[in-house]
Symmetry: C2
Subunit: 236 residues, 2 copies
DNA sequence: ACGGATTTAGTCCATATGGTCTAGAAACAG
DNA sequence: CTGTTTCTAGACCATATGGACTAAATCCGT
């Protein structure tokens, strides 16, 4: 930034929108109102992907609602290529789920088609400068959705009625080992107790968790917290 | 908004900061520069919680870096009470991890102490109006962190070397049912095949996933995606 | 149409797991 | 100090699971 515009290479942009009218409108806008270089346009996600591979643009403006391969899938695909392309998602609607998913898979910005053209240019500017840009209203929507997801996740374990709390210390240890896929014999060795003792503990665990087998106990443990918070995957 | 200020009840605020100087400074600022009503202040998280229970304010301004019970824990605690209190986090640093965790547990805003007082007032305004407010710079930081977390999660399954890809369609179905804690007999019934067939599939699954029993197969499936993306817990 | 992969299903056998009970030692709370 | 809980461990038995085969029917691609 300090160096001023004279050293800044014009960022190269590829536009993707299944609506051709829109496409040329945006292209014109960018070329007139900004300093960016629209190197290519595409009206389908699959074409877009090959164009991106060829031109290696800095920025991609991607319409999300497209038929056949939808925009989100396309974004995921492009991100996976890891070309350093910075993608800005573009839609007509401010559906929080869409916003969330787009940002989750790596979109660097999200703009509505209804927004003023100045805002579009500003967003591209910010994203080209390495930032992530979400207009305040969309950001607000995003966070509401984000927090709701988390709240549902966490309040689903009201601490009471979480049967894991009924387990004794030793039982927790045993269950912990079970959630690592260790056999009874293995548990016995790890805890320096006999295998029959392990079986006793396990049976008590089953009763307390109201399940009938090891797999169900492990699943209960994983889905209801406490144990094994380590590797569990994200999957909103 | 349309109704104008004359119908707007003055939002009641509680301030929490272990630094008394800061506390009175902010209090003064709010009382002079805004329309809000500072009903109480606290210099510790535990006192804050009881004050909040007593006064039921609309807004809480909470300093995050405090000794003993830290601000994040306090926020989580207050959110759990579900009093409809909207909490704005306040710190000196723009540590993305702090921002992420604060927003995750339900903070409705996040402001730096170094920000202009006008911005503080604006944030309170927005949050009081029911929105979630993050200044653009912090929002940007948040998203970088957010996307990095996700990328690490997903790229940890490089698609190749994910043994789940070796499974046939039917094997996937079987494994899917296993990850629901269903017994072989149950799987057989659900898929309308004999139990021995299920066993055959299961044995093939074991070989392909290089595991020795059902539990390990289920754990592999849960930890390496594809199946059962439903209930799996969040745990960044 | 041929060959490989997939899905189905069986046998045989060993071992692990699950259910129920009893029971002693140790730890702990009132 | 006494009753309760926890941890330990055993017996006994039924059933589920896992391993190693064989094999037929079907599907799929070239």
């Amino acid at each position: 930034m300090r160096r001023g515009l004279e050293f800044k290479k014009k960022a190269r942009i590829i536009l993707v929108d299944d609506n051709y009218e829109h496409l040329s409108g945006i292209k014109e806008l960018i070329e007139i109102e900004s300093d960016f270089d629209v190197v290519a346009t595409a009206t389908s996600a699959s074409v877009a992907v090959s164009l991106i591979k060829k031109y290696r643009p800095e920025i991609v403006l991607m319409d999300i609602n497209m038929p056949e391969k939808d925009g989100l899938t396309a974004i995921a695909e492009i991100e996976k290529l890891d070309l350093g392309v910075r993608i800005i998602a573009l839609t007509g609607y401010d559906d929080p789920d869409l916003i969330f998913r787009a940002m989750k898979i790596g979109a660097k910005g999200y703009i509505l088609k209804t927004m003023a053209s100045a805002q579009l240019i500003y967003a591209i500017d910010e994203v080209a400068a390495g930032k992530i840009y979400l207009p305040a209203t969309l950001s607000s929507r995003f966070f509401e959705y984000f927090q709701k997801s988390f709240k549902e996740e966490t309040q689903s374990i009201p601490d009471e009625e979480n049967l894991l709390n009924d387990l004794t210390q030793r039982e927790e240890e045993v269950l912990d080992l079970l959630t690592q896929g260790i056999t009874y014999k293995g548990v016995a060795q790890k805890l320096f107790i006999s295998e029959t003792t392990v079986k006793t503990h396990v049976n008590n665990i089953f009763q307390k968790l109201q399940v009938n087998d090891r797999t169900q106990a492990v699943l209960y443990a994983l889905n209801n917290g406490f144990l094994n918070r380590r590797k569990v995957k994200i999957a909103i």
